[in-house]
Symmetry: C2
Subunit: 480 residues, 2 copies
Amino acid sequence: MNYKQLTPEIIAQLEKVVGADRVVKGEGVNPDYSRDEMPIYGQNLPEVSIDVLTTEEVSEIMKICYANDIPVTTRGAGTGLVGGAVPIYGGVVVCTARMNKILSWDEKQFAVYTQPGVLLQDLKAAAIEKGLMYPPDPGQKLGTIGGNVSTNAGGMRAIKYGTTKDYVRSMTVVMPNGEIMKLGANVAKTSSGYNLCQLITGAEGTLGIITELCMKLIKKPALEISVLAPFKELPTALETVPKIFQASFRPTALEFFERPVLLLSEKFVGKDVWVKEVDGVDVQAYLLLIFDGDSMDEIEPHLERITDFLLEEGAMDVMIADTPNKIKDIWDVRGAFLDAIFESHELFDENDVVVPIYKIAEFVDFFSKDAEKYDFELMYLGHAGDGNLHIFGVSNTMEEEEFKKQIHPWMVAMYDKAKEMGGELTGEHGVGFGKVEYFEEYVGDSIIELHKQIKKVFDPKLLLNPGKVAFRSEWSKLPS
Amino acid sequence: MNYKQLTPEIIAQLEKVVGADRVVKGEGVNPDYSRDEMPIYGQNLPEVSIDVLTTEEVSEIMKICYANDIPVTTRGAGTGLVGGAVPIYGGVVVCTARMNKILSWDEKQFAVYTQPGVLLQDLKAAAIEKGLMYPPDPGQKLGTIGGNVSTNAGGMRAIKYGTTKDYVRSMTVVMPNGEIMKLGANVAKTSSGYNLCQLITGAEGTLGIITELCMKLIKKPALEISVLAPFKELPTALETVPKIFQASFRPTALEFFERPVLLLSEKFVGKDVWVKEVDGVDVQAYLLLIFDGDSMDEIEPHLERITDFLLEEGAMDVMIADTPNKIKDIWDVRGAFLDAIFESHELFDENDVVVPIYKIAEFVDFFSKDAEKYDFELMYLGHAGDGNLHIFGVSNTMEEEEFKKQIHPWMVAMYDKAKEMGGELTGEHGVGFGKVEYFEEYVGDSIIELHKQIKKVFDPKLLLNPGKVAFRSEWSKLPS
């Protein structure tokens, strides 16, 4: 790559577009803009950062960068977990966090037009106020909707409601040469050519910069009930998962947890709400389910049936959380799992592979046993209902180099196993920079080559978010 | 395009792959292979047709055609409506209709592995036997699942269940150079690079040849009820549509029809089942709804509520069809609409634009008034719930050239209006050959150029289904 560095002349051009105060240079750049939430993948400050406010600004910035071969990395809130927003090659960071306005509602068609920097939690809350719901529910509510679209974020309600990609109706995208494109339409069906909207979705900012989105919503279900089932052993809990669907239950979410992660998380949030023992026996694992519906009359029969069902399948007990406070207590603990893991460990690395739901137990057994070879500790939890796990290697005692050296073969073994099981490399976090080599290995040369060629169609100078998804960078030297 | 013609040597190579009996040449080629169900877009026989049986055969055929610059058009059952399967440039037609085996069921994960030539009606019936359901429900049940995926077929249940693209989990695709690629995985989530599965879906056979599919299924709802509401006037019926969703009803399907189409269709199937008058007043329009659920207890409250609701909104009556026979009678008539229109007219052309559901009434008014300028007659019906209309110009009296000449400006006016309303050019039929120029005009040069470049990534020699989607052919000369 023959990227150029920013010159005073180029900076002056950028200042002409957005004003001198928003073109932040060198040491002045917010250090957060050098990284996402996985610092182990490396950090790098851009030469310049710009908090953009409009599509037109982004277009003008891209025209300048395109003319001058300046790499550009787009970031939202920087809550990614794969180094996707790290400006590996310096250049310009375009931050969309201040493009945080909800533009308009199309209540008749259950859709919202929004800028990309709106936080997931704000979009969800604003929808609720309108009697609507934005169903995708990634654990990280402080990410932006633009980031969610760019990674096809999944979350906890995917089993009933799908993932982010299922809610993208149309988008405005600034191309690397500055051209503004409108893709898709706010209607429910299309067979109008190649699905470019779905190509940009999940492309991690490598094909264009999303500056506006139209997202589908649904009518807000009138109520939601959570069901918590403690188990004596994780395998029993996991074996129950596919049976729940076979028995025609339609949960909105179906999560599994192990005791150690729960204890860590409760300590982190300072609450003691989840049951830890039943009749003197320690709880080792949990299933947590949500059911939603338009009335208690609609949900109640399911609740009675699921209670009996879970007890028959070996649950030690079944707790129904049907008041806002009870639900909030349980989910506050769930919501804090990742932060709890991050906060309590100096070193961590993770993956988010997906395996068929009836193979989760086998997969957990595989990577747990494999981890015994190494010095790091293991933490994991998962979206049991869709087979998407979050598996962490963590340590407070190892040296970073040694940690990385040990983590690598463990990751490789897990990816190999996931592939053998017919799964996916990443369910919702993306490839970013941290998984480029694993992705290469997982999908093989031909698919990588297709990625590279598609990238060049959109971005012939490879300026947007370089060193990500299918492109190695100089940093991409994993321990061998 | 510098396509070559087949030589005896090339034919001999093809015969080596599949045997001499399956390489059908010249006059021997089934005349059906020259066309789809819209003969007005033209017909052309290929030089050779091959009914393929395996992925490996398709791969070997493509290697030969790639080496020799022979264009290849893939077809399934040929039920398309946009000339998508017409081998404009001759060459080879690869027909997947005999690849009609369901390969295996993954009942634990609600998925089916299938060859592309399985008919939609057979896939649906086989799923039902397993207690499962393949939800997409295009009216044409004799199309293949490969064709459904290639056009992202929509159908009647899109409002509740989405379109074909929402059910594609993974696929095996033969690339133009003969390489066999596996895309996607049979799991519910992925953020693993660009969504190539979604790019092939709806690409109308221009990027690769689908030879195997894994499609998502759902648990079959225990029962399904149809609700038929006659109206005195179409506008009243159409104005009711968005209100149904606002009032929190979740119908599985929501269709609208006008009296003339209904009469034509009943005549065609030889049945008299839909109500034609209420209290001495002629019915002019209908809304037809489906509700499904797991028990009568679950559906009944909705039925009572929708009955009251529709009567309040101006329905002349509300009929509930809750027995298999009643449901079959109603839907047999609905299912025959297109065939009835085809059978009773010598000339027909159509579009399937999508507009926002609350603009359907305005759109119908627009194109109906516009049609008064012309000599052809008008027939239309629509998926009211998702804004996807099927609008036919038909004639038994006009000359074909004059018909085409008059249809063209009417189509242009409709597409312009749909675009102005924020709709899509085609909701479920695709662009094919019949709509290339309209598509160019609708999306503009930049998006067409993106299509062309993406096409070249997959198919550098432009061999697959040439003259379709974003590529004009010599035939693409619409009357001016």
